[in-house]
Symmetry: C2
Subunit: 554 residues, 2 copies
């Protein structure tokens, strides 16, 4: 069987200007990056602001398991299928992070015959957006330390600096450091640390900004620390917002690439789905909606994390509304939710599917609470048996939902033709609304999500979290939506609780203000913001061959 890379290399790509033209983007609006990638100018994006809006299809999933679900391939396959059915469709995806590429073998551009291309370039530096975000993040860090060094006019308490540096790299050695060692010329020693770039608030700001002016304003509102009296010091106070916006200016233009079937795809931005909201840039999504009849986009992790955040954060801030929600599932993943070990997934086990399907059912029910019709995409594997598939489909029928078999991985868009029809049939049938209003209290917002989505019995706040929430409200941030950082593996905050747990306690250990992004993060569990490399990282076997081709990356 051909590998993803072999399939991608064998594909004949169209010149990006041809892809753009089909999508309604004129040549003058393109900034090409090589022959198969381009940025779409912000002037064009601005000019499209008044255009008729297409329908938005949100692709999300069950709680992820090591078996994999295939959200990205489904997004791409569905987009290709809709285009094949004559519906002008664009897919909107997140950009891959460079860091993980060198840890475990594999990219983030889909797979099989449902990929975006050119996959090697998208997975490596692409158009440099993440490097620009890293630079902007670290310029602010350098300016904060420089501010302390030269006398600290803003009165920032060096013990209360919360802004951290960032690198797009898996590097555990940088999680916790002491900086500014070496004496008076280098400053005063200070505890510090690096997050991976996708976990930076700059990434979240980048993905929620409506335009350049909004970007600069949001960057200015980001909090870098506090004074001794507890008042907040922002990037604006450090005078870093303008230079950061300059570093991000070109990056903010959305990236256009294509699927292996030559259909347009916007791949832009990519924040974490735990401490941030987990979806591609608002600018890309809105551009897509202004050009296409349908935009298919993906949210990170399961519907309890990425799906909920898409609706309560991105849609709210961006003034957009999903028309249909697709929940992706595999028989294998449901079997894991039903208690089967990964090594035993090849054996038929209809009972396990039945035990595990409660996870899917819960997500389907949850997404319905946003007023959006739901379709299940059953991403077929060759090991799935008819009885197992029937078990899933029956369970969904009981819920009044359709589970549509998909084979886009092996068949491309043709494998998602039925899904496309199911989606088209549901457009215009719902009425979207976020789960909670702006004017609910912060703790109450967390409570609504815990109750309605996680089905927790209660929410408990540490004293520190309570104090901070009260302070955020006092400082004028009570109107913000909340972004819950918890494990992606379970509805609860315990990663081992698979299936559909209920009545559990959600403990909010800490809360953080992301004043620039515009949400309050509630930390419910150990959240890793700087991954490490495994014992034998993929990087060890990656190399250029004698023709200059990349080996071992995918």
């Amino acid at each position: 069987m051909a590998s993803d890379l072999e399939i991608a290399r064998a594909a004949e790509l169209r010149p990006i200007a041809a892809v753009a033209a089909r999508a309604g983007i004129p040549d003058a609006a393109l900034e090409p990056y090589g022959k198969f990638k381009a940025k779409v100018s912000l002037d064009f994006v601005r000019a499209q602001a008044g255009a008729k809006q297409g329908a938005l299809v949100l692709v999300t999933g069950i709680n992820p398991t090591p078996a994999g679900e295939g959200k990205t391939t489904t997004t791409i396959g569905l987009g290709d299928a809709l285009n094949a059915a004559g519906t002008r469709t664009m897919v909107c995806l997140r950009e891959p992070s460079l860091g993980p590429c060198f840890g475990v073998k594999g990219g983030a551009t889909g797979g099989g015959h449902a990929q975006v291309a050119p996959m090697e370039e998208i997975n490596l530096h692409f158009t440099g957006d993440f490097h620009a975000i890293t630079s902007a993040n670290n310029l602010l860090s350098a300016m904060v330390d420089n501010h302390l060094y030269w006398g600290n006019e803003a009165g920032l308490d060096p013990r209360r600096v919360t802004w951290r540096r960032a690198l797009d790299m898996n590097d555990r050695a940088l999680r916790q450091i002491v900086a500014s060692l070496g004496g008076v010329g280098n400053g005063s020693p200070r505890e510090e640390g690096f997050d991976i770039t996708v976990a930076s608030e700059v990434m979240a700001v980048f993905c929620l900004a409506r335009d350049l002016a909004d970007l600069q304003a949001r960057l200015g509102r980001m909090v870098v620390g506090a004074r001794r009296d507890g008042t907040l010091v922002t990037a604006r106070d450090i005078k870093a917002d303008g230079a950061m916006a300059v570093l991000l200016r070109d990056a903010l233009a959305p990236n256009l690439v294509q699927t292996l079937e030559g259909n347009p795809a916007l791949v832009h931005g990519g924040p974490f789905a735990n401490i941030a909201h987990g979806c591609n840039s608002l600018i890309a999504t809105r551009l897509g909606l202004s050009l296409a009849d349908v935009v298919v986009t993906e949210a990170g992790f399961g519907a309890d994390l990425g799906g909920e955040k898409f609706c309560d954060i991105k849609a709210r801030i961006g003034g957009i509304a999903p028309s249909v929600c697709v929940v992706v599932v595999t028989v294998r993943a449901l079997k894991m939710h039903g208690g089967v070990a990964k090594s035993a997934l090849g054996v038929e086990d209809v009972a396990a599917v039945g035990r595990g399907v409660v996870n899917l059912a819960r997500h389907v029910e949850n997404m319905g609470k946003f007023g959006v019709p739901v379709v299940v995409a059953l991403n077929r594997f060759t090991s799935d048996t008819d009885a197992e598939i029937a078990a899933v489909q029956r369970a969904m029928e009981t819920l009044g939902t359709e589970a549509v078999l998909c084979t886009h991985w092996s068949d491309g868009g043709a494998g998602a033709a039925d899904l496309a029809q199911a989606v088209l049939a549901r457009i215009g049938r719902g009425r979207f609304a976020p789960l909670y209003p702006d004017d609910l209290g912060l703790a109450e917002k967390i409570g609504v999500i815990a109750r309605e989505i996680y089905r927790a019995g209660s929410v408990s706040f540490t004293h520190a979290a309570e104090v901070k929430l009260a302070r955020f409200a006092q400082q004028g941030f009570a109107h913000l939506p909340v972004c819950i950082a918890k494990t992606q593996s379970s509805f609860s905050s315990d990663p081992t609780l698979l299936g559909a747990p209920e009545g559990h306690v959600l403990t909010v250990r800490d809360v953080r203000l992301a004043a620039g992004a515009g949400f309050v993060v509630a930390i419910c569990g150990d959240i890793m913001t700087m991954p490490g490399l495994p014992r034998h990282p993929a990087a060890e076997t990656i190399a250029l061959d004698s023709d200059g081709l990349i080996q071992g990356l995918f």
Copy 2:
């Protein structure tokens, strides 16, 4: 008077494909980055290997002073003048570092009517090369710490890790840090530090590699530290070389831009000129030579540093030979070498010119030692008086050299027409040879440069430096050229000794092996590899205006 930025924004640029076509680069060899920048494919570079070689003109300068000399503008102006005279000419320049942009206002793309464009993009992220170099550098760092974390198979002594992390940022807080704090999950605490990207050995390797295979091999030879028995551990031992080469693959293709007069310019790579060799990539220079009749290129700092290193390191490793050397000077700078304060430079002072011209004379004489005809470019300022100019020209006549007046800053190529004729008249008149042969000892090589170029009375080595030089020789590195890191402000290692000091002692405090780049660095003075920001960095006043235009950067 129009600012550099105003002049640049007013220029009507040609589409980069048109610039390329005039330079002999076909469309198929171009990877466009926007409309006015492109990478030239390495396939095309390889195909050009057998082409007829043009003549190489090296632009260097006197010891720099705060008055400025204008090496970059002279390189660009001379290139434009040669093109105007009907000689197919390309200029080859270094890429600017992002770090300094936010410290002191100003870019590194020339000035006035002698600029390369688009200046804002070149000065900011350009085509992402420096970001790729930063990533490659830091991937190696992460893999080194990961190697220690998982059991240290290679036997690297954690006390003897010499490889440092890098950022393209002026950030003094990162000069000296302790990393891997926080307990067993993060590794063992270890002293560490960041250099600015241009000071990374990866940058030097990038700029000296002949092709991708040579790049990967050089990366593999880079030393990351030593074992307890003193044997060296390389990037190859850590298995990082292949993945680093993958990160650098696309970056290694040279960048094509244009001068304001629409002539082709290759802007690629940019290592420090103290701890590294200080000139643009070998690949770009060789590509230029294969396409143009004349290539004009610039070396960093004065002729004692960048000029010498161009001849003894880059030309030697790359198998290229300068045909003519241009030494750039201003009356103002000579007056500073003659003892005039910067604030008094506006006042005519022929005597001071006479005192300072010894610095120029020494550089002219020195460059002659490489067998290359020398022309002086006298970069005219409006405050220069006829008597001052005559003083310089007389002094040069005495040496048998011509000092040609240039006004390219205000007049573009037309202002360097005489310089172009003087250069053309000297092509083919010399025979280049480096200063010393490969098989001289390392200490002797340092001695030759100290005697012939710096005019030191003697060289003194610290005990540590002596021991290390002996060890390098024993380890098989005696054949490498040497790269002396000293102040750029003086022939000596004392930055306050202006003019033409002689008989001074050159003290070699330390030596370092750059086994991948292929030279041994001799440290003679305090060399800053991570700059800091000033009290009020330029970044504080940089911002986007309401049209999304950059303000305050230049």
